[in-house]
Symmetry: C2
Subunit: 470 residues, 2 copies
Amino acid sequence: MLRPTLSALRSLTVMCIALGTTLSPVSAFGESLAANITSPAKNVILIIGDGMDDHQITIARNYLKGATGRLTLDDMPVRSSVAVLTVSEQAPDEYIYVADSACSGTSMSTGQATSRSRIATTAKSDLDIETIVEMAHKSGLKTGLVSTSSVTDATPAVFASHIQYRFCESPEKMVTERFSCPQDLKANGGPGSISEQLALSNVDVIFGGGMENFTPNVEGGTTSVLDSAIANGFTVLQTKQDLNTVITTGKVLGLFADKHLATKLRGENGRIAEKPEPSLLNSVHWTMGDVDLPEPMICEANPAAVDTPSLLSMSSKAIDLLSTDNDKGFFLMIESASIDKQSHARNPCGSIGELDQLDETVAYALTFAEQNPGTLVLVTADHSQAAQLVPESSMFSGLNIPVYSPGSMARIITPEGGLMGVNYATNDIFAEEHTGAAVPLYANDAAIGKIDTYINQTDIFNIAKQHLGL
Amino acid sequence: MLRPTLSALRSLTVMCIALGTTLSPVSAFGESLAANITSPAKNVILIIGDGMDDHQITIARNYLKGATGRLTLDDMPVRSSVAVLTVSEQAPDEYIYVADSACSGTSMSTGQATSRSRIATTAKSDLDIETIVEMAHKSGLKTGLVSTSSVTDATPAVFASHIQYRFCESPEKMVTERFSCPQDLKANGGPGSISEQLALSNVDVIFGGGMENFTPNVEGGTTSVLDSAIANGFTVLQTKQDLNTVITTGKVLGLFADKHLATKLRGENGRIAEKPEPSLLNSVHWTMGDVDLPEPMICEANPAAVDTPSLLSMSSKAIDLLSTDNDKGFFLMIESASIDKQSHARNPCGSIGELDQLDETVAYALTFAEQNPGTLVLVTADHSQAAQLVPESSMFSGLNIPVYSPGSMARIITPEGGLMGVNYATNDIFAEEHTGAAVPLYANDAAIGKIDTYINQTDIFNIAKQHLGL
């Protein structure tokens, strides 16, 4: 359906005023546009940058747009700050101060704070909590989940499954040496693993990675989880070509990688942050000797991503499928997952590229919302992350002593010719910690006057629910 | 002058409506209130939390109000994000990505980005840049600077002095082993040190610490900088008692400490963040051995602050002095300086107490603005800082390997009974680095619809200038 954009309509109106005439939307474009503007379908597009805190955004902006440049995010008209709430598993009335994606996602999908690692279930009492996706489906709306992670990863999972432990992603992963979800086994009357629950779900569009969680046989059965999805009406997509060409009014499950999708960018020759190398003399006293900081590097396209669909291509297809011939509206969650994963891995270029993917997806969503004014676009993060934007050489370099991060750092050459330092130093094992700062929330015109400047993460559920009239 | 508050006025109006009568502000309170509301004096109160980024705010909120609590900041109706811009001294058209308080303060005081360490002067070309305090004075407005640091420290200095190097704070400090400001020496035709410039300034109220910078003799003279301030019309205050009792229509210089003011809070028994202590076995391989994390601690009142005026007491007095019998308006900068200084020093309780001081001062400023509706209240930070809110024990503690920060950390027992981890790991010398994330900006009702959701730090100068009609 051809729909003139609001801005085109405004331009036309301005022209008409200039010509001394008046023009009503109805007379110019017929009833369908008038109906669209006065009583449009209500949609929510919730875009989550996993781990996308103010450091990640500033690091990405400096690289992608320059110090004085602007991301699409920066021009959104509503900007709030979101408290990330996490409770103790043992004592659910006590707060702890750093979340994971499972509990923070559950806050957004259900409006209830829970404990780390839980997927839409209550802390300690382990009760299932109805999600906004489930509510939307009940009310006749379409629903979608898009992620650059495995679709069974915590953020997509919290919207359409319920399980004690986020890593119980497939029938094979329900009981391992390090964790288990015994009460969620079908044999014990549970709903089975996350992939089994998604396969049997009513979600209309599920796009991401994670094929490895759908190839095992269902618990106690002889056919795969993927077969059960097909039996439940899902058309399965596996390639960019599949994604580009699919036309269906039925349910679609796109699994474009075995695990998570490859990132758009990587460090030069695959480099990540590195440990500064102080001289031996520096081990005698901190004021002595010198230090070799990591060599500066650029970011480059990740060759592993050649066959990977972009977040934008998955999201635009999802929006297309969900909005076509749908006058009841939809709820769509879109996640750029590896801003977080690449921060865990101390790979600043990886995170920058994934924030770029998010930002171009936000631009698409905003254009759709302009054409479909009943659409609320929310962009937020689930929690903050380890990466810090630091001086590329110390602020104290004038002292002529070796000064360096005790963790790992990268020095990135930005396209505008600057040198940007990124520090990772929350621990020294194979993956960095999350952090606990409040995170940003951005929204489009539809939210003006409706979102306070500081909210709890659970309020995001309520804002979406209210917008959709659920 | 007795002025009914707006809320009192609203209550009275509601009562009158309930009684079936109408009441105009003019008939109820006479011409002065009507004039106040329809054409009030334009004031700007710019409150700067030095180093007050989203981590610092969340850490302070968790301690002071609890995870679900709210600071006064959180209820302000306008919330923006501010890009902190810093240019290279050698190549002023090139950006670097981490600021200090001198250049970031200069952005706010002059509307121009400069290089690190510069006080209201241009990078490389070293030209003085007119400040908003100087412009306001020229237009007949009153002006004030309040800080918990030495009044010669970078943030207050950038509003009323011009010098190449922030550490040239007194005649004695103009030429040292590590830095010098030769072109700013009076002997070379310059304006002299920062304290000399403040002593000769037209600022109406200057409150803070830094007496040590006023006791040396002026350059080439036989009398002290303090004497030159007195000769320039300043009444000098030195104690809490002086502050409480001063009544004057003239200029006031309050110097309540030799150096910076003592902080409100400190760690238990003076403790700051500490290095985790891994066992010897852990040095063999990162998966082996164990680690002793720092013992949990509370924050406590700092006994050194007993005779120190609070930021609130200095600020409320400054507002009182600047607003009394003043129908032209004022510009007042208030800084909580040691949020930053205590983050450099790895003292989370110190930063928490100084953010508490800022928040109670914000509450006072908002009440004043409610009573004086021409008042714009802006609250922001100059740059972000090293402290990170991290898990109090690792997210990976289930692995049963020793996981710990490579830097320093504190584990703080919050009044609500939680345990909060704070990490400092940008370097291993005596002071942490600044960081480069965008910082928050909050504003009161007077700014609704006037501040975009993402601005440059230099825009703060323009917003204040426009509000004051300069």
